[in-house]
C-alpha cells in the first residue's frame, strides 16, 4: 500500500481540486445506435446485431429517445442545449470495442455550461457543469487465468457485447475548487445528487452496483488556493457513493505523501480498491492520448428544435432537492426520519402511498419496517417488491377501519406478496378478521389466565403492565385475530 499522510495534515499543507466525470447509462429500451435490447443480465452476446458488433458494412442510426434523455438531463442540470451538434469518432483500440472507435461527442456536446446545487451538511454548494455529452458504452471483458482478474497475466479473455452500444451520458464538471477538507464529502454528495436526478428524470435505473452510474474522479493538489493546478490523477470507474468519497480522500492523502517527500505526481489513471480503501496505478498518461477525433460521417448532425427543447423543459419533474424539502415540510417528518426514507429509496413509494390516501407516518412505518425487512430478506429493492403503494394504503385503510390489526396486516402482506390478490381479497380468502366479540374472546382469556397463574397474580397485585403477556397468549390462541384492546379490557375486568 502506498504511503499516505493523515487527511487533516494533508489539508493543512495542500488545497485539493477535483474534476468529476460521471457516466450515466440510460434506461432506453434499445441501444444508442441499433435496435438491440438493453435489458440487464441476459446470457452473454444474446443482445447483439451487426451494428453493435461493428461488423463490416454495418452503420449506426441514433436513438431518438436517447437524444431526448440527453436533452432532459442537460436541462435538469441547467445547461444550454446545442442548437446543432454532431457525433464524433474517438479512435482507440480496446478489446471490448468492436469498431475500434467509440462514437462519442467531442467539441460539440449536446449540453454545456450548467450547474447543480448540492446540500452538504446543511450548506448549499454549487458545482458547475462543463458539459454533458452522448456516447455509446463498450462491451465487457472478463479475464481468466490470472491472479488479479486483470488482463495482465490472464490466460484468456471472454468478451460479452450485450452492453456494447448501450447509451451513455457523460457529465463533466468544471474544476471544483475551494472545498478543502470537505472535498470527499462534496464528491459523494455530487454523485448522489446526479444519481437522484437521473432517477427523478426516469432516464436511468441509476443503480451504481450495476454500473449504471460510474464516476471517474480527477484529483490534484496545489500548495495554495491561488496557485496553478497540480498534476491530476484520474481514478476510474468508481461505482459506489462510499467509494467516491474514499477514492477522493485517499488520493488527497497519497498525493500529499508524494509531494511531502519531494516527489512529483504522475498524470495517470488509477484503480480504486474497496477492500484496502486505496488506489493503485493504472495506465500512465504522460503523453496525451491521440484519439484522432473527427465528425462521425455515418450520422447526421443533431439539431433539436427550440420548440421541442422548450416542451421538454416544461415537462421536467420537480428537482429532487426541492421536492425533498417540500415533502419533508408537508409530511412533518423529523430530519432523521426523512433521511432514513431517502436512504431507503422509499421517497417515491411513500409519496405515492400518501397520494393513495395513507397518512405519511403510516406509509413510512410500513415501507421502512415491515416491507424493508421483506425486501431485505428477498434481496431485492423496495421498488422491486411485489406490492404497490396503493396496496399499502389499502392495508392501512383496513387497519383504520378496524377490520384488521397490525399483526393481521403482516399476514395480508404475506398474501399480497404470494400473489393472492389485493389486500381486501387476501383478508377475505384467509379469513383475517379481528374478533372483538366478548363471547368468542372470553373463553380464550379464561384459558390464558388459567395457564399463567403467576402472571394473573401479578396483575391482581396491581402490576397492570404484566397484562401484555396474557394478551400475547390470547392472540396466539386466536391466531392474531383478536382485538387486542378488547382482550386487555377483558383481562383487567376479570382480574380486578
Amino acid at each position: 500500500m502506498t504511503d499516505v499522510v493523515e487527511f487533516d495534515d494533508a489539508l493543512d499543507r495542500y488545497d485539493p481540486v477535483m474534476g468529476l466525470e460521471v457516466h450515466v447509462e440510460l434506461n432506453t429500451v434499445s441501444k444508442m445506435f441499433c435496435g438491440c435490447s438493453t435489458e440487464f443480465g441476459a446470457e452473454p452476446n444474446t443482445q447483439t446485431c451487426p451494428v453493435c458488433l461493428g461488423l463490416p458494412g454495418s452503420m449506426p442510426v441514433a436513438n431518438a429517445k436517447a437524444i431526448e434523455s440527453a436533452i432532459r438531463i442537460g436541462l435538469a442540470l441547467n445547461c444550454s442545449i446545442a442548437e446543432w451538434c454532431r457525433f464524433a469518432r474517438k479512435n482507440y483500440f480496446y478489446p471490448d470495442m468492436p469498431k475500434n472507435y467509440q462514437i462519442s461527442q467531442y467539441d460539440e456536446p449536446i449540453a454545456f455550461d450548467g450547474w447543480i446545487d448540492l446540500d452538504v451538511d446543511g450548506e448549499t454548494i454549487r458545482v458547475e457543469i462543463e458539459r454533458a455529452h452522448m456516447e455509446e458504452d463498450t462491451g465487457k471483458s472478463t479475464h481468466r487465468g490470472g491472479a488479479t482478474g486483470r488482463i495482465h497475466g490472464a490466460d484468456y479473455s471472454l468478451l460479452d457485447y450485450n452492453r456494447c452500444g448501450v447509451p451513455l451520458i457523460e457529465i463533466v464538471t468544471k474544476p471544483i475548487e475551494g472545498m478543502g477538507e470537505r472535498a470527499p464529502a462534496v464528491a459523494k454528495a455530487y454523485v448522489e445528487a446526479i444519481r437522484e436526478l437521473m432517477k427523478a428524470l426516469d432516464v436511468s435505473d441509476a443503480r451504481m452496483e450495476r454500473g449504471n452510474v460510474r464516476c471517474d474522479a480527477n484529483v490534484s493538489l496545489r500548495p495554495d488556493p491561488g496557485a496553478e493546478f497540480g498534476t491530476r490523477t484520474e481514478t476510474k470507474n468508481v461505482n459506489s457513493l462510499r467509494s467516491v468519497e474514499g477514492a477522493v480522500r485517499h488520493e488527497i492523502m497519497r498525493q500529499a505523501a508524494v509531494l511531502d517527500a519531494g516527489g512529483t505526481i504522475l498524470q495517470e489513471t488509477r484503480h480504486w480498491h474497496e477492500d484496502t480503501q486505496s488506489t493503485t496505478s493504472g495506465r500512465p498518461k504522460e503523453t496525451a492520448e491521440d484519439y484522432r477525433y473527427f465528425p462521425e460521417p455515418d450520422l447526421v448532425p443533431v439539431a433539436p428544435s427550440r420548440d421541442w427543447v422548450e416542451e421538454l423543459r416544461a415537462s421536467l419533474p420537480e428537482p429532487p432537492a426541492q421536492r425533498r424539502a417540500r415533502l419533508a415540510d408537508v409530511w412533518g417528518f423529523s430530519e432523521r426520519e426523512f433521511g432514513d426514507v431517502v436512504a431507503a429509496g422509499a421517497l417515491d413509494l411513500i409519496d405515492e402511498t400518501v397520494a393513495a390516501g395513507c397518512t405519511p407516518q403510516s406509509a413510512r412505518k410500513w415501507w421502512l419496517s415491515e416491507l424493508a425487512r421483506r425486501a431485505n430478506e428477498a434481496g431485492v429493492s423496495l421498488t422491486e417488491l411485489a406490492v404497490t403503494p396503493a396496496q399499502v394504503a389499502e392495508v392501512q385503510a383496513l387497519v383504520d377501519a378496524g377490520t384488521i390489526n397490525d399483526k393481521l396486516a403482516r399476514q395480508v402482506f404475506d398474501g399480497v406478496l404470494a400473489g393472492e390478490g389485493h389486500p381486501a381479497e387476501v383478508v377475505e380468502k384467509r379469513g383475517l378478521v379481528v374478533v372483538s366479540d366478548d363471547g368468542a374472546l372470553s373463553a380464550a382469556v379464561d384459558a390464558a389466565i388459567a395457564a399463567n397463574p403467576d402472571v394473573a397474580d401479578k396483575i391482581r397485585a396491581g402490576k397492570v403492565q404484566a397484562a401484555g403477556a396474557l394478551i400475547g397468549a390470547v392472540m396466539k390462541e386466536m391466531r392474531g385475530q383478536a382485538d387486542a384492546g378488547r382482550v386487555r379490557e377483558l383481562i383487567l375486568a376479570k382480574l380486578a
Partner: protein, 503 residues
C-alpha cells in the same frame, strides 16, 4: 440464341421473361456459361453463386407461371461488387483480411435486389477495400479489360464493369467513392451512375470513406441503369445519411431523353493539359452533339476543383483509417500468429501486416497522420474547408447550368502494370470524378465512342445537383439514342470477341 441473350439489354430480357418468351433459368444459364467460358481470361468474378442463381431464376419462372406480376427487372442476372454483404456468400472487399468471411446479414442493396427478384450471379472483383483505379490492387489478382486484356478495366469497380463488357452479366452494382463506378464505366464503354449521396443505402457496403461512398448501377444501357437505380434507391432507415424523399423520376427521364432547352455547363477546369487528345476530341464532339439535340452550351468555372484531388486524398484516407480499424483479427476474418504465446497486440499487428495490401497500408498511414492531433487542422481541417468551397463552386455553376460536363477520365484505359508503382499517376485518373463525391451530388459516365488514339472507349461525364439524378438520365438517354443511330448499335457491338466466348 445465346448470343441474343447475352447481347440483350436487361429491360428487354425482363420483358421476355414477363411475356414468357424466355425463362429466367435459360437466361441465367447462358450467363453462367459465358462466365465459365471467359472469366478465366477476364477475372471479373471473385465468387460465383451458380446454384443459388439458378434457384432464384426458377423461382421467378414459377411466379410468372403462377400469374404473379413481376417487377421490371425480375429474373435478370446481376453481378454484385464484392463490397456488399450477402448472406451465405463470401464478402471479401478484395482483401485477404476477409477471405472466407460470410456475412450474417444482407446489405440493403442486396436485400432490395433479392426482393426485386433480380438474380445475383456472384460477387465481382475490386481493388482491395475499393482503394484503387485499376482493380490491380485486388488481393485476388487483377481484372482485365475485355476491350484489350492487357489493359485495366479501371477501378475500383473493375470487376463489375468488365462483367458487363464481357457479357457475363447484363446488370451490375458498383460503389463510387471517388469515381469507382464512373471511371471503370468509361474504360469499358458502359454506363456508370453515382447517385446523389444518400440516394442509395450504404448499409452493408463495407465502408471505405463513409462521407464519400455511394452504391450505384452499372449497366450497358441508360434505361437499364434507371430501372436498376429505381430498385436499389430510396430511403433506408438503417442508413442515417439516407435521404428521406422519393427517388426522382429517373425512369421517365431515361425513357424521354429530351434535352431541348437544357443548359449544359462545360467545366473549364476539367480539360486541357494532361487530357489525351482522343479523349478531348470525343468530348468536344459530344458537347456539339448535345447542342445539336437542343441543349444550350455554357462554359462555367469551378476554380476550387483544382484542389479537389488534394482534399479527396486527405479525407478518404482519414475516414478509411478509422473504418478499417475494426479489422483486428479478433472476431472474424484473417488471424495470423495466434500460437498461444503472442499477445493480442502482436497478433493484431501480424494479421494487419499480412492481411492488408500495400495501397491499403499507405492510405491507413496517411489517414492516421492526417487526423493526428498536431496535424488535424493542417490536413483534415483544411481538406474539409476545400470541400465546402467545392460545394460552393457547384452551387454557383448550377445557377448557370442544369448539368455540368467533362470527360470522365483524362485518358482511356491504361495498361496493366503501367501505373501500379506510381500512386500519384494512378490517383490522377479520378481528377474529374472526385468533386462530385466531395459535394455529394449526382453524376454519371456514358460511353461516347472510341478514342482515335488507341481504339479504347471514352466516357462522357455528367454532373447534376443533389436529388436531380433524373437530369443525368435525360442527357444519357439523348446521347445513347443519337450515338447508337450513328453507330448502328451499341458501342459494345464493336468489342473484340473474347477467346471461348459466345458473344
Amino acid at each position: 440464341m445465346s448470343r441474343d441473350i447475352l447481347r440483350a439489354n436487361a429491360h428487354e430480357l425482363a420483358r421476355q421473361i414477363a411475356a414468357g418468351e424466355r425463362s429466367s433459368e435459360e437466361i441465367t444459364r447462358a450467363h453462367l456459361d459465358q462466365i465459365a467460358a471467359v472469366d478465366g481470361a477476364v477475372h471479373s468474378f471473385l465468387h460465383i453463386e451458380s446454384d443459388r442463381a439458378l434457384e432464384a431464376a426458377r423461382r421467378v419462372d414459377a411466379k410468372r407461371a403462377a400469374g404473379e406480376t413481376l417487377g421490371p427487372l425480375a429474373g435478370v442476372p446481376l453481378a454484385l461488387k464484392d463490397v456488399f454483404t450477402m448472406t451465405g456468400a463470401p464478402t471479401t472487399a478484395g482483401s485477404k483480411m476477409l477471405e472466407g468471411w460470410v456475412s450474417p446479414y444482407n446489405a440493403t442493396v442486396t436485400q432490395r435486389l433479392l426482393d426485386a427478384d433480380i438474380v445475383i450471379l456472384g460477387k465481382t472483383n475490386l481493388d482491395e477495400f475499393a482503394m484503387g483505379s485499376s482493380t490491380e490492387n485486388s488481393a485476388y489478382g487483377p481484372t482485365r479489360n475485355p476491350w484489350d486484356l492487357d489493359r485495366t478495366p479501371g477501378g475500383s469497380g473493375g470487376g463489375s464493369a468488365a462483367a458487363l463488357a464481357a457479357f457475363e452479366a447484363p446488370l451490375a452494382i458498383g460503389s463510387d467513392t471517388g469515381g469507382s463506378i464512373r471511371q471503370p464505366g468509361s474504360f469499358t464503354g458502359t454506363v456508370g451512375i453515382k447517385p446523389t449521396y444518400g440516394g442509395t443505402s450504404r448499409y452493408g457496403q463495407i465502408a471505405l470513406a463513409s462521407s464519400l461512398d455511394q452504391p450505384g448501377p452499372c449497366t450497358r444501357s441508360v434505361l437499364d441503369a434507371a430501372l436498376l437505380h429505381q430498385v436499389i434507391g430510396g430511403h433506408d432507415p438503417l442508413d442515417a445519411t439516407s435521404i428521406d424523399a422519393p427517388v426522382p423520376d429517373i425512369v421517365g427521364a431515361a425513357r424521354s431523353g429530351d434535352i431541348r432547352g437544357m443548359r449544359v455547363g462545360v467545366v473549364k477546369e476539367l480539360g486541357g493539359e494532361g487530357y489525351a487528345p482522343g479523349v478531348e476530341q470525343r468530348f468536344r464532339e459530344t458537347v456539339a452533339l448535345l447542342e445539336s439535340l437542343g441543349a444550350e452550351i455554357v462554359e462555367v468555372s469551378c476554380p476550387h476543383f483544382d484542389y479537389a484531388m488534394a482534399a479527396y486524398y486527405l479525407i478518404l484516407p482519414a475516414e478509411a483509417s478509422s473504418n478499417l480499424a475494426r479489422f483486428d483479427a479478433m472476431r472474424y476474418g484473417l488471424r495470423v500468429g495466434d500460437d498461444g504465446a503472442r499477445s493480442t497486440e502482436e497478433v493484431m499487428a501480424m494479421t494487419r501486416g499480412a492481411g492488408f495490401g500495400e495501397e491499403v497500408k499507405r492510405r491507413i498511414i496517411i489517414g492516421t497522420y492526417a487526423l493526428s492531433a498536431g496535424y488535424y487542422d493542417a490536413y483534415y481541417g483544411s481538406a474539409q474547408k476545400i470541400r465546402t468551397l467545392i460545394a460552393r463552386d457547384f452551387r454557383a455553376a448550377f445557377e448557370q447550368a442544369d448539368v455540368l460536363v467533362s470527360p470522365s477520365t483524362p485518358t482511356t484505359a491504361f495498361r496493366i502494370g503501367e501505373r501500379i508503382d506510381d500512386p500519384l499517376a494512378m490517383y490522377m485518373n479520378d481528377l474529374c470524378t472526385t468533386p462530385s463525391n466531395l459535394a455529394g451530388n449526382a453524376s454519371a459516365s456514358f460511353p461516347v465512342g472510341l478514342s482515335p488514339d488507341d481504339n479504347m472507349p471514352v466516357g462522357f461525364h455528367v454532373m447534376a445537383p443533389a436529388m436531380a439524378d433524373d437530369r443525368l438520365y435525360r442527357v444519357g438517354a439523348a446521347l445513347e439514342r443519337s450515338l447508337e443511330t450513328t453507330w448502328g448499335g451499341s458501342l459494345l457491338e464493336r468489342i473484340p470477341t473474347l477467346e471461348g466466348s459466345f458473344a
